[in-house]
């Protein structure tokens, strides 16, 4: 990747690969947890942004953190389950059950979904009940805190699990990934303690593709969409065929908006406005994350992408999974896919409930 003034804003995701030994050591082997995963946080990787996020591939069945849940975080988060079929953004290929609240209210879904978890609210166990996709599925965490922090509340936590989390990381390994503590209050998870109410239904939402949602826009949403596309911007050939875009109003008021989509074609992502093809700034920080869709190699992107950063239009080119940090006020774009060997995926994480955009040249 070219060196330049903004190179600190482009991070290959593999700077935050969690080694298998650490995942095994966390007691998550042979569970529903990730086969391979990146987890970047504001403190170590994202230039101090109040954000940590993950991207991983999943094929296993069962509880993700056996015995340890529920747990809480001091920050809110959005948890996304997505499929890996680039032709169908509405396909998950798995069945998930997820507990919310101290009530352990069980919610089950088999479509791409987001679960919104307010700060301090107990959540999990997360259980992969079934995987029907032959290549598994993916999962992302968008957590609004710079430092991953968890307080575990499960009644089944063993002394060994507690000890594992208090050990220094293995030599050469990055860590600790998560600042863990253990609540004095423990919650028993069993068939008898699970509940099946609807108190938290509003926290579980399907990911609705943009094309579908566009047809059903409220006047307010239509105004927001037109604001983004004002000034002559239109979709370029490299952009997503169909994507999901959710805002704070869809996410129970979180200061977050995100996109999710598959990208299959070369070319510029946005045409216009202006000669620069859409260089713009936002009033809040955002992170653009480019990931591959090959579960056998999390370090494979399958495309070569260029993006301009800064008012100087410094261009950066990458062909590995990468996060691009766009601090508020910093011009960025155009994004151009130079080639695509295999459909790749992209998600935007904007640290505001709305997506304010001002084109700059």
């Amino acid at each position: 990747m070219a060196k330049g003034k903004y190179e600190h804003l482009l991070k290959p995701l593999n700077i935050a690969t969690i080694p298998q030994m650490m995942r095994d050591g966390a007691g998550f082997r042979n569970t529903g947890n990730a086969d391979s995963i990146y987890w970047l946080n504001g403190k170590e990787h994202l230039e101090g942004l109040p954000l940590n996020f993950s991207w991983g591939f999943y094929t296993g069945l069962g509880d993700w953190h056996p015995g340890m849940d529920p747990h809480i975080h001091p920050y809110p988060e959005a948890l996304l389950w997505v499929g890996l079929d680039p032709d169908n953004v509405e396909y998950l290929g798995a069945k998930i059950s997820y507990c919310l609240g101290e009530e352990l209210e069980v919610h089950t879904f088999d479509k791409p979904s987001v679960v919104i978890v307010p700060a301090g609210m107990p959540h999990c166990p997360s259980i992969t009940e079934d995987v029907t996709s032959p290549i598994g599925y993916s999962f992302m965490i968008f957590s609004l805190g710079a430092e991953p922090t968890t307080t575990w509340m499960g009644a089944g936590i063993t002394d060994q699990q507690m000890a594992q989390r208090q050990q220094p990381p293995p030599e050469g390994a990055r860590g600790p990934l998560m600042v863990s503590s253990f609540s004095d209050k423990r919650i028993e998870v069993s068939p008898e303690t699970l509940t099946y109410g609807h108190k938290y239904d509003h926290l579980v939402k399907p990911l609705v593709p943009f094309k579908t949602s566009l047809e059903k826009l409220t006047p307010e949403e239509r105004a927001q969409f037109e604001k983004v596309t004002s000034g002559g911007m239109k979709v370029g050939p490299g952009n997503a065929d169909n994507l999901v875009w959710m805002y704070g109003k869809d996410l129970e008021g979180l200061e977050l908006n995100f996109t999710w989509g598959f990208y299959k074609s070369p070319g510029v992502w946005h045409r216009g406005p202006g000669d620069s093809d859409g260089a713009h700034v936002h009033p809040t920080d955002e992170v653009l994350v480019f990931v591959g869709t090959d579960p056998s190699d999390i370090d494979y992107l399958g495309a070569e992408i260029s993006i301009d950063m800064g008012e100087e239009h410094e261009r950066y080119v990458f062909d590995r999974p990468t996060a691009v940090i766009c601090p508020r006020g910093l011009p960025h774009n155009p994004v151009i896919a130079r080639y695509v060997d295999r459909p790749y995926a992209f998600f935007l994480i904007g640290l505001s409930g709305e997506h304010g955009t001002t084109y700059v040249d």
Partner: protein, 367 residues
């Protein structure tokens, strides 16, 4: 915008625009330049002296729909430099479609050769050639034509019986009055030749090559089975370097070299492009030991200033990026790094041709 180091190397083709409507309407004696009914409807003509930073080249691009002689009464003619006359179709799905029948006379004997597929005619310096006659046009879009002439200053000596110094003078004056400059320096030969096309003996057949005799790419794939041994060797060398076409490269393309062009010191490509993305994978910025120009032209005969795509190219070791969406020529002097080429979007298929001032193509990657 601040002046950039290489901006003099990127020129819109419109800098060489010739308003053929005005040219044809000029009140001058019958037989003056461009007065032939078969000549261009619209044309750009760029030359080394005025537009191409002194390169030993002048080239054209134009759309043609008329039937008849291109330079009534003026031909045959000669140039002090060799040139290639390239006749191409405008069907971006078919490299082998011309949509017209052309007759060109070669030599003092005026051996008349006729073709109806995309073709290049190589004309050595000083060799009389033409009349050039469009016999039929059946393409609803007309056809395209470009010259690649290996001289910085367009210069012609007309030998036809229908031309005189007076006609030449009147033409220049009429053009000047209309505010037009004719880039061609015209002379009239003392020796005149009466227009008298003859049946070809085959003496000049080696100067006429269908474009599909070059290294041909069709639907994005090079036709390896059609390659001659020397073409296969050239292809293998490129492949060995890890070069392969990117998604933005040509759907259909042909490439001819000096050996295909009567030994002229030139090689050129002609191709149709319809997709976004990078043009080459495995080789980015590179240099050539000789000068070249890369020409990007639209395929809409109703608007010669329409390209239908937006393209970026890096020039110089600093990778200064230039972006354009109008028909453009990029001048790549020998030793100046250029590329990658990336097509940002395509609204309509367009054409591109490279003219490289050597019989062979050599490229060295620089980063």
């Amino acid at each position: 915008m601040a002046k950039r180091k290489y901006e003099h190397l990127v020129k819109p083709l419109s800098v060489g625009g010739m308003d053929m409507g005005v040219m044809k309407d000029l009140k001058m004696p019958k037989g003056a330049f461009a007065n032939g009914p078969g000549n261009a409807d619209t044309l750009v003509w760029l030359n080394g002296r005025d537009h191409l930073e002194g390169l030993n080249l002048n080239f054209t691009w134009g759309f043609y729909s008329g039937i008849g002689d291109w330079h009534t009464g003026q031909d045959p003619h000669t140039h002090p430099y060799p040139e290639c006359l390239v006749f191409v179709g405008l069907d971006s799905a078919n490299l082998n479609y011309l949509g017209a029948e052309i007759e060109i006379c070669l030599g003092e004997e005026q051996e008349a050769y006729t073709f109806d597929v995309p073709t290049v005619v190589s004309v050595p310096a000083g060799m009389p050639h033409c009349p050039l006659t469009t016999k039929r046009v059946w393409s609803p879009k007309s056809f395209g034509f470009y010259l690649a002439s290996l001289g910085a200053e367009p210069a012609t000596t007309w030998m036809g019986e229908g031309i005189s110094e007076e006609v030449m003078k009147a033409m220049q004056e009429a053009a000047a009055k209309s505010g037009r400059q004719i880039p061609m320096t015209s002379y009239v030969s003392e020796k005149r030749i009466k227009k008298n096309p003859r049946k070809p003996t085959g003496k000049y057949a080696h100067l006429i090559k269908p474009l599909n005799t070059g290294m041909v790419t069709q639907r994005g794939q090079m036709l390896l089975d059609n390659l001659k041994p020397e073409q296969k060797k050239q292809y293998d060398e490129m492949a060995k370097k890890g070069m392969k076409p990117g998604p933005g490269n040509a759907d259909h393309l042909t490439w001819l070299f000096g050996r295909d062009l009567a030994g002229l010191d030139v090689n050129f490509s002609w191709g149709f492009y319809s997709k976004p993305g990078i043009w080459h994978r495995g080789m980015g910025a590179h240099v050539h030991p000789v000068d070249e120009v890369l020409v990007f032209a639209g395929l809409d005969p109703t608007d010669i200033n329409y390209l239908g795509a937006k393209i970026e190219i890096d020039i110089g070791e600093e990778h200064e990026r230039y972006v354009f969406e109008k028909p453009t020529v990029v001048i790549c002097p020998k030793g100046v790094p250029h590329a990658p080429l990336v097509t940002r979007w395509v609204d309509k298929p367009y054409a591109s041709y490279g003219i490289i001032l050597s019989g062979e193509y050599k490229a060295t990657a620089v980063d």
